[in-house]
């Protein structure tokens, strides 16, 4: 006799004003494959948890964003924000698409160089560029974006000592009407500090001012601040052109465009309230037409997009370890990926979807990671269906800042794979093992022996 299909028994109390079954069921739409590859197969092959990047999605995102800007302004150059995700394979996809490397430390600079990016294709940002890395950047003709006066003076000293010329830009901070105001990076626009720095650079024969740079913040939720920022940089560029007859090579508008990942404390989903990418592109490009130099000499528009290009191209597949009832009756699901892999879950409510077909009944639940720590909570409240031990879930929007900020706290970091455009899967970072971690540690001789 054929047996009837089984699902977990469920009883849900009806409260008025709370989620209804029809309200919540579409949320549970499962994600059983990524780019056509079943996630179960990936886990069988590479283990769980597993980070997955989609080559196809990265390229699509890049091309879409590039097209949006290129159709609005004639000269556009992207540079890939290394800190967002500097996994070599990921950076390589962006470099194949034509992005320069945007780095913010000597370490990131080194990563870009080892990957084969030439110095002249590296934008060197950030407040901490140590002497050795500045020397190297000058020698290799990187684009150095100066952050503060101490750095400017060090570069002047180094160019004298090295008898070298260098192309530089300055980072400008400004009031764009948003909070918090990012005034800790670069030179201030309103108080004239930026113009002071520009004058000093122009006066020095070894330094060549080739660009202006700003980066107004991160996860900026409206397009208007970009319009303000772009017009302020355009004003500066016009001033430089009029006073010194210098035409800049580029104006770098930085990054900060949000992904559809929803911040904690937000009632509506990000996708509902964020402006479209078109709006951001309009806001950034329209002030560029106030540039006063001849049209065939217009500066190139640089952008350092990170999050908006990679966040939705990264997935974290995880397995259910256990189900629990908390003391108040609320359900809790424990999965094998925790906050040690998802630092971003401290400020984002990552979407978590089932990895297989599941029953239509859903229940408000907490999702915990496997760490023996109270902080290891991925979602305090999420309406999800019931799971069996070993079921898979997929955590979405984990492409940005996850695999750069993760750590091997309590557990070691797992495999990272990329689903290639041709439908193959490639291991792009092997899971760590105890030998790898221990190889860096040293135990003083005197501590080596103990008996218990």
């Amino acid at each position: 006799m054929d047996k009837k299909r089984y699902e977990r028994p469920v009883i849900i109390k009806q409260y008025s004003g709370l989620m209804n079954k029809f309200g919540s069921s579409p949320v549970t739409k499962p994600m059983t494959e990524i780019d056509g590859i079943p996630i179960r197969r990936m886990v069988d092959e590479y283990g769980s948890p597993l980070f997955v990047f989609s080559e196809k999605k990265i390229r699509e995102n890049y091309r879409k964003m590039y097209r949006l800007f290129k159709t609005r302004y004639p000269k556009v150059q992207f540079s890939w924000s290394y800190k967002t995700n500097y996994m070599n394979a990921v950076c390589s996809v962006f470099h194949q698409e034509g992005a320069l490397a945007e780095v913010v430390s000597g370490y990131e600079y080194d990563r870009a160089r080892r990957l084969g990016v030439e110095g002249r294709n590296i934008i060197f940002n950030g407040p901490d560029k140590n002497t050795a890395s500045l020397e190297r950047a000058i020698k290799e003709s990187a684009k150095i974006h100066i952050d503060h006066f101490d750095e400017l003076f060090e570069i002047i000293e180094l160019t004298e000592k090295m008898n070298a010329d260098v192309d530089v830009a300055i980072r400008v901070n400004m009031d764009t009407g948003i909070y918090p105001k990012w005034d800790r990076f670069g030179f201030n626009y309103e108080n004239g500090e930026a113009m002071d720095a520009i004058k000093r650079i122009i006066k020095n024969p070894r330094l060549h001012l080739t660009g202006l740079h700003t980066h107004i913040g991160t996860y900026i939720m409206s397009a208007d601040p970009y319009r303000v920022a772009a017009s302020k940089l355009v004003n500066l560029a016009n001033e430089i052109y009029k006073q010194y007859n210098i035409v800049l090579d580029y104006i770098d508008m930085g990054g900060g465009i949000p992904s559809n990942n929803t911040l904690k404390g937000q009632y509506l989903q990000a996708e509902q309230i964020l402006p479209s990418l078109e709006d951001f592109a309009d806001a950034i490009t329209s002030p560029m037409f106030d540039l006063e130099m001849p049209h065939d000499e217009l500066p190139t528009l640089y952008l350092e997009n990170g999050r908006s290009l990679i966040d939705d191209a990264g997935y974290l597949i995880s397995s259910v370890i256990a189900n629990k009832r908390l003391s108040d009756g609320k359900r809790a699901v424990i999965i094998d990926a925790g906050v040690n892999y998802l630092f971003t879950s401290h400020w984002f409510n990552h979407k978590i979807v089932p990895g297989q077909q599941s029953g239509e009944f859903t229940e408000n639940s907490a999702v915990y990671g496997p760490l023996c720590m109270n902080i290891d909570c991925l979602r305090e409240n999420i309406v999800i269906p019931s799971f069996k031990k070993g079921d898979l879930v997929v955590i979405l929007y984990v492409g940005a800042y996850s695999v750069t900020q993760w750590m091997q706290f309590i557990t070691l970091r797992p495999n990272v794979i990329m689903v290639m455009e041709d439908g193959e899967t490639e291991l792009i970072r092997e899971n760590e093992n105890i030998e790898y971690i221990n190889s860096l540690e040293k135990v003083p001789e005197i501590l080596k022996n103990f008996s218990l």
């Binding site: 089984y6 977990r8 028994p9 009883i11 849900i12 109390k13 009806q14 079954k21 009832r325 069996k388």
Partner: protein
């Protein structure tokens, strides 16, 4: 093996709507939920209910037992059953 007493006068419709007249609360259940609750109302004990789940549905005994335990816990939380 545990026996459970289901609160009296529960109105359960085939669609899975449960009304508890004593408190005015209402609930929805899925088909397995209705199945278990009806078995309990018939006076079946834990073992018998689990056995009938295994007989009629595509489920192994361990899973059925685990889910039954969780389900009973929720019924108890809502005062719909008592252990006898």
């Amino acid at each position: 093996m545990s026996n459970y007493i289901v609160s009296s006068n529960l109105a359960i419709s085939d669609s899975g709507f449960l009304f508890y007249p004593a408190t005015g609360e209402s609930f929805t259940l899925n088909q397995i939920g209705i199945f278990i609750l009806n078995k309990l109302r018939e006076g079946k004990d834990e073992n018998a209910v689990i056995q009938s789940l295994v007989d009629e549905y595509d489920v192994d005994k361990n899973t059925a037992e685990r889910d039954f335990t969780d389900f009973i816990y929720q019924l108890k939380q809502n005062n719909l059953v008592q252990e006898s």
